[in-house]
């Protein structure tokens, strides 16, 4: 009995799966509409930008770094898009430049982190302020809308059957992430660097270059999410996507990725994304709205690390008592 329980607790993914099932059962008992496919697609769609960025953040945190600037990059890219559109630049070109601005922002982070050697927490805290400032410079205090119809449709309507473009993009990225992270040499290198950057360097891994690639990619993906955000809302403001980093980091850490790097899997992150989405949906079903949801997510973040620690502690005590007998 205890042995089985132990095995369960040992696997964080197992625990997440159990938690997800509890939430799903609870939600479906609250509302018959919950299990409908339309609701599930809607569920994803409401947080599509965050979950896309969470995929990139998984790489960064496994690599023992952090990127606090993602929400600001999302805002900046959306700002670039809207500003260029207002200035009369052809829309496809505006999208390309918006995405490029994200990659450049990410490379900017990467430069200070890998070549100057400043901790990523400090760099991305500064660029969190800076990139948000960039978005404010472009947008001032106005709200820009009036994007082309096809662009708005991309964010607001379904593309293939009932599935919207954002969800297709997300699923595509999931496949890429699984392949790169779990099955490629590059992915293994990310884990090695996360475990010990010194060991990685001594074994000939190009640590700086990999960190640079990761942060550039993180910026690019954040810009992609920012553009998607503009399409879904049909309007951009200077404070678009403000504060999204908390939710994004929570999703990754809840998925069992260690903040100290080197461990965690993409499957855990996918499960935790499902948990956060369904939990939010469930809270809306019982009329817990707005800010209270943010608080619950914060609580969840702490519990996701505290509970395994407590479980470990209890297990050790149990072992010791048995040993004493």
């Amino acid at each position: 009995m205890f042995h089985k329980l132990r095995q369960r607790l040992l696997s964080w993914e197992g625990f997440l799966l159990a938690a997800l099932l509890v939430i799903i059962v609870f939600n479906s008992s609250m509302s018959p509409a919950y299990l409908r496919i339309g609701n599930w697609i809607n569920l994803f769609e409401l947080s599509i930008e965050k979950i896309i960025v969470a995929l990139a953040m998984t790489f960064i945190i496994i690599n023992a770094e952090i990127d606090l600037s993602v929400a600001s990059v999302m805002g900046l890219a959306a700002g670039v898009l809207a500003w260029l559109h207002q200035a009369g630049v052809p829309f496809p070109l505006a999208i390309i430049l918006a995405l490029a601005s994200g990659a450049v922002s990410g490379a900017f982070n990467g430069f200070w982190i890998s070549f100057v050697g400043i901790p990523s927490l400090v760099v991305t805290l500064a660029t969190l302020i800076m990139f948000r400032g960039g978005a404010r410079i472009l947008m001032e205090d106005q709200s820009i809308s009036g994007f082309p119809d096809w662009f708005n449709a991309l964010g607001q309507q379904s593309l293939v059957g009932p599935i919207p473009f954002g969800l297709i993009l997300f699923l595509l990225l999931v496949v890429i992430v699984i392949v790169v992270l779990q099955y490629s040499g590059f992915g293994r290198h990310i884990y090695v660097i996360g475990n010990s950057s010194d060991v990685a360097r001594y074994s000939g891994i190009k640590v700086r270059r990999i960190k640079m690639v990761l942060f550039t990619m993180s910026g690019f993906v954040a810009a992609l999410a920012g553009v998607l955000f503009a399409a879904r809302l049909g309007a951009v403001r200077g404070d678009s996507a403000l504060g999204f980093e908390l939710d994004i980091i929570t999703m990754v850490l809840l998925g069992g990725v260690s903040i100290f790097g080197g461990s965690g899997s993409i499957y855990g992150v996918l499960l935790s994304i499902l948990i956060v989405l369904n939990l939010r949906n469930g809270m809306s079903l019982v009329n817990l709205t707005g800010h209270l949801q943010t608080g619950v997510i914060g609580l969840l973040l702490i519990l996701s690390v505290l509970l395994p620690n407590v479980a470990n502690y209890l297990r050790e005590r149990l072992d010791r008592r048995r040993f004493a007998q």
């Binding site: 952090i66 200070w112 100057v116 050697g117 400043i118 901790p119 927490l121 400090v122 760099v123 805290l125 500064a126 660029t127 969190l128 302020i129 800076m130 990139f131 948000r132 400032g133 960039g134 404010r136 410079i137 001032e140 200077g238 908390l246 980091i249 929570t250 850490l253 903040i259 100290f260 800010h291 209270l292 943010t294 608080g295 619950v296 997510i297 914060g298 609580l299 973040l301 702490i302 690390v305 505290l306 620690n309 407590v310």
Partner: protein, 352 residues
């Protein structure tokens, strides 16, 4: 000359550099902004520095132990709002009760952080990112979207930000600035001369060794978080006194400002190095920068955040590059003259 070189440690040199940077910046702005050195400007900056400096002291204690406290913004907002609401309900509360209430409330919230970090084994960035959201949520829930209004607060509180200890001409030395300076001196002395202070450094520079040496590491980290919370609570009271009108978003972003002040002030986020005067200088630098950028008419207000973020980054980068060189040089010199060793030891000290 050689003696001078030995007696100045790299840490102190850094503080000189900061003072120089602040003076240089003020000089540059004074050529751009008309009537830059007005008494009003001095008074405004000194008051806003006072609040950030108090928070930055607590942040320093936590960062020294290789942790971080991102929840201070919510603690400042929470205690400002909560204490303000108590005062609105009962205008007769004595100043001492009110300050004590704010500090105790902050200490309680800091204590929860500390408990989770040192006894729950949860990394501080996770705990305080979580409580940043949680404390703010509780505030939003208990407030019912009401605002604390200046009109409902007692006279003495409204007079507080304008009350002076002394003034030279139009330059006022405000009571709140005095409180902040007192806190700076007290904590600087604690860090420098008490075993508690030295242990904060020891834990930050090598947690394993500190544990092996028998330090009660957990308790010390726990108390660092309590102090950080208590100081944030005090800052919350100062915030209430300064602004009067308190909404549920009060203090939003102060955690970023305090971390920025600490980092610019030379406190290493890997723990173990940095001083309280450094944090104060960092707070002064950032505040002067912020306020000067607001006054600089040739740029729009929207440029402020962008420049602020970039300059913080530059300050840290300059520090990281220049100081590691200097530290190396210093360590090599010291090692040659004292022990006759090669400089390899010195190189290890700055590997992060």
């Amino acid at each position: 000359m050689n003696n001078l070189k030995k007696s100045i440690r790299p840490g102190q040199l850094r503080e000189f550099v900061l003072v120089f940077l602040i003076l240089l910046m003020m000089f540059l702005f004074s050529t751009q902004i008309e009537n830059y050195f007005s008494p009003r400007f001095f008074n405004r900056i000194s008051t806003s520095v006072a609040i950030i400096a108090v928070v930055a002291i607590g942040q320093t204690l936590v960062v020294l132990t290789r942790n971080i406290d991102l929840s201070v913004g919510s603690i400042v907002g929470f205690s400002a709002y909560f204490v303000g609401q108590q005062l609105v309900q009962d205008n007769g509360l004595s100043p001492a009760t009110v300050v004590l209430m704010a500090v105790a409330l902050g200490a309680l919230m800091g204590g929860i952080n500390g408990l989770l970090v040192s006894f729950g084994g949860v990394p501080s960035i996770i705990v305080t990112l979580g409580t940043l959201a949680i404390y703010r949520t509780i505030l939003v829930e208990i407030s019912n979207a009401e605002t604390v209004l200046t009109a409902n607060l007692p006279e003495w509180l409204l007079d507080l930000p304008r009350s002076n200890i002394f003034s030279i001409g139009d330059l006022d030395f405000r009571l709140m600035v005095g409180v902040a300076l007192l806190a700076v001196v007290v904590f600087a002395l604690i860090l420098r001369y008490t075993s508690y202070g030295r242990r904060l450094y020891a834990i930050g520079s090598n947690p394993e060794a500190a544990k092996n040496a028998g330090f009660p590491s957990r308790t010390i980290v726990f108390t660092a978080f309590i102090l950080s919370g208590a100081l944030a609570g005090l800052a919350g009271f100062m915030f209430l006194a300064r602004f009067g009108n308190i909404t549920v978003v009060a203090g939003l972003g102060i955690e970023l400002e305090s971390v920025a002040a600490v980092v610019v002030g030379g406190i290493n986020t890997n723990g173990g190095t940095g001083t309280i005067p450094g944090a104060l200088l960092g707070a002064i630098l950032i505040n002067i920068l912020e306020q000067s950028l607001i006054r600089w008419l040739s740029i729009s207000e929207f440029w402020r955040d962008f420049l602020l973020g970039f300059l913080i980054l530059l300050a840290v980068a300059a520090d990281s590059v220049i100081m590691s060189r200097i530290r190396n040089l210093w360590a090599q010199n010291g090692a040659h003259s004292k022990l006759g060793r090669t400089g390899t030891e010195g190189k290890d000290t700055h590997v992060s």
